[in-house]
Symmetry: C2
């Protein structure tokens, strides 16, 4: 029996001393000459697996490879070290038999430890994912793009209180968390939202994509997003690591970038720990 996602993630955080997740968004137009997608992803993972708490392949980039894309994704997943959990980023969301099919594909066919979902269809649309109680289900709450304000920030009336829509989503997700397998996706570019999300989430994990090249962004995101134990935050970086070099040294450059990110994240974790102990 494989461990539940939360245990596997916790063990990976301890082993790597890292909250960094490397996102696998392979873009054939940006790969080093003569390196195919599978080899590229393998090279990135070999170079960084001891520095990360998980890998996050983005299924859109594999679908974009055409008819072989799902075979390539299977090859990449087979190359993930057994002790590193995989979040398959797919943001699926639909109702009834369709939701069941999506959950089965992601958790059974691809064997992902966790996935991202879109909860717009409400509880029964999410339940087919949640019933895989040993897998993680990250609900897409607040994104890091300009249009995030269009709907996610609309003020709603939820249980007689007014709040941004995404907070109502986070509160519902927390209430649905009877299997202790739900997390939230909150863009790292908005530290204020990340802090509010943490207040709602308690110790639920938060996946924070969108970390930019500036250390300042990381600092604010980590301070806002970690839980009371200095954990519970998964900081995703994709292109910054994958394309650190466009040459044959891409794997070495990816390791250097991942190491710098891990350490930048940890310096904030330690500062927060000092503050808690003081």
């Amino acid at each position: 029996v494989s461990p539940a996602f939360s245990e596997k993630l916790g063990a990976a955080i301890d082993r790597s001393d890292s909250l960094l997740c490397v996102g696998l968004d392979p873009d054939p137009g940006r790969l080093p000459a003569g390196v195919d997608v599978t080899s590229f992803c393998r090279g990135i993972m070999e170079a960084t697996h001891d520095l990360v708490c998980c890998f996050k392949p983005n299924i859109a980039f594999f679908e974009a490879l055409g008819r072989e894309g799902m075979t390539v994704l299977h090859e990449v997943l087979a190359a993930v070290p057994a002790d590193v959990p995989v979040i398959l980023d797919a943001k699926r969301g639909d109702i009834g038999h369709t939701a069941e099919a999506y959950a089965r594909v992601i958790f059974e066919d691809f064997g992902a430890d966790a996935t991202t979902i879109n909860a717009y269809g409400g509880h029964d649309s999410v339940e087919p994912f949640l019933r895989y109680s040993d897998r993680g289900v990250f609900v897409w709450c607040r994104s890091s793009n300009p249009g995030a304000v269009d709907f996610q920030d609309l003020i709603v009336l939820h249980e007689a209180r007014s709040m941004p829509f995404w907070q109502a989503l986070a509160i519902e997700a927390r209430q649905w968390n009877i299997n202790h397998n739900i997390g939230l996706v909150i863009g790292a570019t908005f530290p204020a939202e990340l802090a509010e999300a943490r207040a709602i989430a308690g110790t639920m994990p938060i996946l924070a994509p969108g970390v930019g090249a500036q250390a300042a962004d990381i600092d604010a995101a980590v301070r806002a997003g970690i839980d009371a134990n200095g954990r519970g935050l998964i900081v995703n970086a994709s292109r910054q690591v994958l394309y650190a070099s466009a040459g044959p040294d891409y794997a070495e450059a990816a390791r250097t970038a991942a190491l710098a990110l891990r350490d930048a994240i940890n310096s904030q974790r330690w500062l927060a720990e000092d503050t808690r102990e003081a």
Copy 2:
């Protein structure tokens, strides 16, 4: 140059005298003995293509076929008659490069005439789809499942008015419709919501899934959902047509079911026309 989706849809409605869409949700466990998925979908399409205004393959059911699923989907799409538009039901939604990849896969690799999307990421997450101005983009607004109320019906403040969230989504979608290629997805099981959606949508097309076996459901949905010209509504039926018979006569049974649905829809269109003229 192929016609824009709206023209292709309009021509198909005229030719078939039908607002019926047959949804292709192939479930290997329900196929007649000895019939594979590609043959089954071909059989359904051959038996019903003159009775429908479009076909709607649901990508989840093809993903669920495993590594060959996308090849099967390509085979099925290749068998769609040239004059019947295809709505590829995928409800994709994400930001940035990911949204661009999803749009490219659906409109270029699969060549779909239209798709369904999830607009939770806001305008810039939808724009990669909208810029394919000759393709249709149906924004998932109000679903037909019990959990639809969880988020879609939350009361929001939008442009200083309070309304259910899904109506704010519909109003935004209408404002984004500069390429005249946006439609809405509104579950057919809630005629009151369908009527409110029509009031917002004007002549934007509405895709209405969830029609049940009862003619009463269809009657109410059609009356509520058609536009001022007795058009603009796409009534989807999937299992009711696909699995009308589990035997070797499945195609014939599908035709009988589709014919009954088309005529039930049309009787309401004619009643509405009489009312307008009276």
